[in-house]
């Protein structure tokens, strides 16, 4: 039986994603963690591409690659990096490991035992996506803009320095 190229690519992207994720939760250096996160995000973008969610892949690369990781790195630069060189975990990390393995097992069981009617993967064109977003989901969209506004104001209020008191 021929192994399909898309499946190979999928495994590759999954490997990058999970590897990156493991890097984030394992490494002792925060800068490495940031790059591992970036790798994981790119892996996710790859997965999106493979199932024809091109637009989302683009958004993923732009926002995570371009914004999130950059923000994280900038934030780290504002602090003394040596504080972040030798990170340790909670002493109860084995419990955390047990919990997350249990969670994984639970989720996989649910996936395996739940039957879903599937079809061929289909893409969604930009036009439909935009129309849905701006008509049917206009209210959440506007509320989301308020959320962003609050985050913006909040960040400014909190980070702004008043000179004399900092």
């Amino acid at each position: 039986m021929m192994v399909e190229p898309s499946l190979v690519l999928f495994y590759l992207a999954s490997a990058i994603t999970l590897g990156g994720a493991l890097g984030v939760v394992m490494t002792r250096n925060i800068v490495y963690a940031s790059f591992a996160l970036l790798a994981a995000m790119m892996g996710v973008a790859g997965v999106f591409l493979l199932v024809f969610a091109e637009f989302l892949a683009l958004v993923q690369i732009l926002i995570y690659g371009g914004a999130v990781v950059i923000v994280l790195l900038f934030a780290l630069m504002l602090t003394r990096l040596e504080d972040f060189q030798n990170l340790t975990d909670h002493r109860q990390w084995p419990i955390a490991a047990v919990i997350s393995i249990g969670l994984f097992a639970l989720l996989v069981t649910a996936i395996v035992t739940t039957s879903v009617r599937t079809t061929e993967p289909q893409s969604i064109d930009f036009e439909t996506l935009g129309e849905t977003l701006f008509t049917q989901w206009a209210i959440p969209f506007e509320v989301a803009s308020l959320v962003l506004l609050v985050a913006l104001i909040g960040s400014i209020v909190l980070v702004r320095t008043d000179g004399d008191r900092d």
């Binding site: 035992t113 739940t114 879903v116 959440p140 209020v157 909190l158 008043d162």
Partner: protein
């Protein structure tokens, strides 16, 4: 698709008010910034009046049930607006003394009210989630608003990390619901759930994750760890808001979600909620015994109260012997829940306002700081003692009636043992409340100088005091409003209504 956006007028008005306050902040200098809270209060009262006139008896919806306009939503909108007025008024003194940037403070506070109003009105998971985030984001900022207080920053950090974690859990749940049921609208979920005899494991996992996420938001055990830290670190009026507002909003959402979406699957979630409720009230009240900080004590006590409220959720329906879902008594549980929310809210606001006064005078908020308060501020002490008795559920105060009603509703649904446990834990709570009352009335004050209170604070406290007693002696008018809200929630004429084919 014909959508009448005028239905969202209350939310638009309040949003506009938030912008107005933010903008006015630029133009006011120095002392004139003290006008901001009054501007906010006037605006909120205006919005309240408009909402009541405009949406009275109106039943409608937007986008096929994304936003529901009904008596239930109206009840909570009015409650949140009134609460907003009280929170703003209780903040005035504290903000003036302790915080910078009053404009941003009140602006963000008002944004969160919009979030709360939308939570009570949403009939769909994404809308509910985004509204919840609007509330949560505002609270993250408000909790850390005391920028130079390390405790406040610490509280904010823990709050936002756990808040984000809970959002992630909830979103995973939502994705499961979307993928396996094909809809996130409450009526659609109910329909899909009643279409099949057994819900699939995937959906169940999704629902459990959503419940866990909501459990974080209401600080239910075992998802409560953030609450004491956030309560203690946050500026006092924000703590009050956190304890009352965010909780009420979360329960407004929970109640609608459970009644309108999850009712057909009651057999699958009831036990989970029962266990959560039992754990929450027990742990909250037991741990409260060990507290020495007043805000922390109230955090754990409010966890205890969340247990009682969750009990109301658990009692929303019973599964009969024939396996059919029985709804005859559902409105009693939801009535009890709402009544207790209001009673608890009014009472807690009074307590926190009192703590703020003491904090402004002494700079501390430990229980021991209340020593001899009755000689320094007799009125304040009386209000605080009354509030603690009300929280403990003693008559003639609001807490007694609401507990009696709620516990009865739970007992009627065949959960007598749970109601008994609740009564027992409120006995425990009496012990630690009495210890606070003891500090106020029996211990001697190290510094007997009288504490002076601004007239505004006295006025607000007086109103809350009368409200606690009035609700305890004559809750009938409030109960009628609540009954109206419950009817709207449960009636088949509501925009989406209780789904027909319950299995």
């Amino acid at each position: 698709m014909n959508n009448n956006f005028l239905l969202l007028m209350p939310e638009f008005l309040v949003t506009g008010l938030a912008f107005l306050v933010l903008t006015a902040d630029f133009f006011l200098r120095g002392d004139r910034k003290n006008f901001l809270p009054y501007l906010a209060v006037l605006g909120l009262i205006g919005a309240l009046t408009f909402t009541l006139i405009d949406q009275w008896d109106r039943v409608d919806h937007l986008y096929e049930g994304l936003i529901l306009i009904d008596g239930y939503a109206l009840f909570f909108k009015a409650f949140f607006l009134v609460l907003g007025v009280i929170v703003v008024l209780s903040s005035v003194e504290y903000v003036k003394r302790n915080l910078d940037n009053p404009g941003e403070y009140y602006g963000i506070l008002i944004f969160t009210i919009v979030g709360m109003m939308l939570m009570a009105a949403s009939g769909e998971l994404l809308t509910a989630y985004i509204s919840l985030e609007l509330l949560s984001f505002g609270l993250y900022v408000l909790v850390s608003f005391d920028r130079y207080g390390a405790k406040s920053n610490e509280a904010g950090t823990k709050y936002i990390l756990l808040g984000a974690f809970s959002s992630a859990l909830m979103l995973y749940g939502i994705s499961q619901v979307y993928g396996l049921l094909g809809t996130t609208r409450f009526d659609g979920i109910a329909e899909a759930l009643s279409a099949t005899p057994d819900i699939s494991p995937g959906v169940l996992v999704g629902l459990v994750l959503i419940i866990a996420g909501l459990g974080f938001k209401v600080a239910s055990v075992p998802f409560h760890m953030w609450a004491p830290d956030a309560y203690e670190g946050a500026p006092i009026p924000v703590t009050a808001y956190l304890a009352v507002g965010s909780k009420a909003a979360a329960f407004a959402l929970v109640l609608r979600f459970f009644v309108e979406a999850l009712m057909p699957a009651v057999g699958d979630w009831q036990m989970i909620i029962v266990i959560m409720a039992a754990l929450t009230m027990t742990v909250g009240n037991l741990v409260a015994l060990a507290q020495s900080n007043l805000k922390r004590l109230l955090a754990y006590s409010s966890i205890g109260h969340v247990g009682y409220l969750l009990m109301g959720v658990a009692a929303l329906a019973a599964v009969g012997d024939d396996g059919r879902v029985q709804l005859q008594l559902s409105h009693l549980a939801s009535n009890g829940l709402m009544l207790h929310l209001v009673a608890y809210g009014v009472t807690n606001m009074a307590v926190f306002l009192g703590i703020a006064v003491v904090y402004n005078a002494t700079g501390k908020d430990d229980i021991a700081n209340l020593a001899g308060l009755s000689r320094r501020a007799p009125f304040l002490s009386a209000v605080m003692a009354v509030s603690f008795f009300s929280l403990a559920g003693l008559p003639i105060f609001a807490g007694f009636v609401s507990k009696f009603y709620l516990f009865n509703a739970v007992a009627l649904q065949g959960l007598l043992w749970l109601a008994g446990l609740a009564i027992f834990t409120s006995l425990i709570s009496l012990y630690y409340y009495l210890n606070v009352v003891r500090q106020i009335y029996i211990e001697d004050a190290p510094d007997p100088t009288p504490i002076s209170m601004p007239k505004l604070t006295v006025g607000v406290m007086g109103v809350l005091f009368l409200a606690i007693i009035f609700l305890g002696v004559y809750p009938v008018p409030l109960m009628e409003a609540i009954q109206h809200a419950s009817d709207a929630l449960m009636s088949s004429e509501s925009p989406i209504g209780l789904s027909q084919g319950l299995r």
